[in-house]
């Protein structure tokens, strides 16, 4: 069933860091230089200039944990939202289709920063949600809309004949979707989801406006008391860079494994 299928159709969505494949030698080298370069620079700053930088490195680690929590929580929830909305977008039921499309259109039309304020402060008047939870929900709600489009595109990239074949074998539409279409679509959507994950990791810095002590907020707290703006933001930028490069590598390895598997 897997033969003669265009399952590797690349879908270009999102603004994440490029995921380097081994075949792309230029980018692969750039990845190495940036990744190891920033690690070396961090070590150099921490141990070469401990008077200025060591304190920053000691101040921010809890922030990395929070950033990580927000990112992972939001991406998992966004995949759920995205899958539901994505299936809704290709649904033949006009009501479901309409609701899903409305969600995608409305959410994509509102800046993430505004959504964060909205979910945190506006909804905070009616329901009590802890700060981190509301940050995760807001991020997931926003990214779910983009994710929906990825899932929709991924499902539609599977050849029509697949569905027809499954139906002719006596499967129901639902069975066919779950057992035939989605497993194949998953492979197509994995790279863009990886991209979204990295974009989300970067965008998670926006939650620092919600008094969530993420990496950026820890840095801002440190800088606002010591006035070491340059030093602090250098460290913050380097840590974000190391994180995004590390995860982009992880995604590309996962993708390679998946390609080898078929």
């Amino acid at each position: 069933m897997q033969d003669n299928q265009p399952t590797n159709t690349p879908i270009e969505v999102g603004d994440g860091a490029s995921i380097p494949l081994k075949s792309d030698t230029g980018l692969f080298t750039a990845w190495r230089i940036a990744f190891f370069g920033s690690i070396v620079l961090c070590l150099f700053l921490a141990f070469g200039r401990p008077d200025r930088y060591m304190a920053i490195f000691k101040f921010v680690p809890e922030g990395i944990v929070i950033t990580f929590e927000v990112t992972v929580g939001a991406i998992l929830l966004a995949i759920v939202f995205g899958l539901i909305a994505g299936l809704g977008r290709i649904s033949a039921n006009r009501l479901i289709n309409g609701v899903a499309s409305l969600y995608v259109e409305v959410i994509r039309g509102i800046p993430l920063l505004v959504q964060l304020f909205y979910i945190y402060y506006a909804l905070g008047r009616f329901v009590k949600i802890p700060a981190i939870m509301s940050a995760i929900i807001a991020m997931a709600f926003c990214y779910g809309a983009y994710m929906a489009e990825i899932f929709r595109a991924g499902i539609q990239s599977i050849h029509k004949g697949q569905m027809e074949a499954a139906l002719s074998l006596g499967m129901s539409r639902r069975q066919a979707m779950r057992q035939v279409i989605l497993p194949q679509a998953f492979k197509t959507v994995l790279p863009p989801i990886g991209n979204e994950f990295i974009a989300l990791l970067k965008d998670s810095s926006l939650v620092s406006i919600l008094a969530v002590s993420d990496l950026l907020r820890r840095g801002r707290e440190y800088a606002s008391e010591t006035f070491d703006y340059f030093e602090t933001y250098t460290v913050i930028a380097l840590i974000y860079l190391i994180l995004t490069l590390f995860f982009s590598k992880l995604v590309s390895i996962m993708e390679e494994r998946l390609n080898d598997g078929c």
Binding site: Y121, G124, R125, K128, A211, R220, T226, F227, Y229
Partner: protein, 247 residues
């Protein structure tokens, strides 16, 4: 001929420029974080107003300069001074040793203290120490934040603007807010929706003086502003401004 004309035009222009440079009063650019009512805020006409604004305008008048205000977010306000985006900051800045090490201040122009605001439902808390194990909010990088961090066991939450801290307390996410006393009074005693919800507890527990901040070594501007401050105080203009904004 052409060269002559060019020369005469340039001479005329430079003469004009130098004349206007001397004739026009010196203008200074001053940053303020206008989210700190009643000291500095944006009114419904989108103008920056408040105690600090009126005070500095009075000082500038005495010193013979004009002021151009720039609304700037608090947690980058000192960085902007470093990079020369403005000449001074007047934004309820408490003179502290840490800040004095990096920047120069004018003389104290008004004194205030930090105070604690809690929800009315809290019948027992009187100090920050009574809120151990709970979250207490303040604006990022203020002397209030430093006071909260001094108390062990209290979870410090920092906000970009003090209004957001009060809003978060209204939503029940934090148990107290610490800020300058006039600001606390504005939010807890005057703002309609918060009046029923919040109360100020205890007395101001710090003694702090506000100063105008300039870049380290800018003695000329410090002297000019100090001269203006002296003159304003001698004429008792600051008392009038105080009654206008801080009742």
């Amino acid at each position: 001929m052409k060269i002559l004309r060019f020369l005469s035009v340039t001479a005329l222009l430079s003469a004009l420029l130098s004349v206007s440079a001397f004739a026009a009063p010196k203008s200074i650019k001053v940053a303020t974080d206008a989210t700190w009512p009643p000291m500095e805020m944006v009114n419904s006409n989108k103008q920056i107003v408040g105690y600090d604004i009126d005070f500095l305008n009075a000082v500038a008048k005495e010193a013979g300069v004009t002021v151009e205000f720039k609304n700037t977010a608090w947690d980058g306000i000192f960085a902007g001074l470093d990079s020369g985006q403005y000449d001074a900051i007047i934004s309820s800045v408490t003179i502290t040793e840490e800040r004095k090490a990096k920047y120069d201040f004018t003389d104290v122009y008004t004194s205030i203290g930090q105070i604690l605001v809690v929800p009315k439902t809290d019948k027992t808390s009187k100090t920050i120490a009574d809120l151990k194990g709970k979250k207490v909010g303040s604006q990022i990088g203020t002397t209030a934040t430093m006071e909260i961090k001094k108390v062990d066991g209290v979870d410090s939450k920092t906000y970009d603007e003090i209004g957001l801290a009060f809003e978060d307390m209204a939503a029940g996410r934090i148990s107290g807010v610490v800020c300058d006393e006039p600001v606390a009074a504005h939010f807890a005693l005057q703002k309609q929706e918060y009046k029923e919800k919040f109360k100020i507890v205890g007395k101001p527990f710090t003694k702090e003086g506000y100063g105008i901040v300039v870049k380290k070594g800018n003695k000329e501007l410090v002297d000019l502003l100090n001269k203006g401050i002296k003159s304003v105080k001698a004429k008792k203009l600051d008392a009038k401004i105080h009654t206008k904004w801080v009742k």
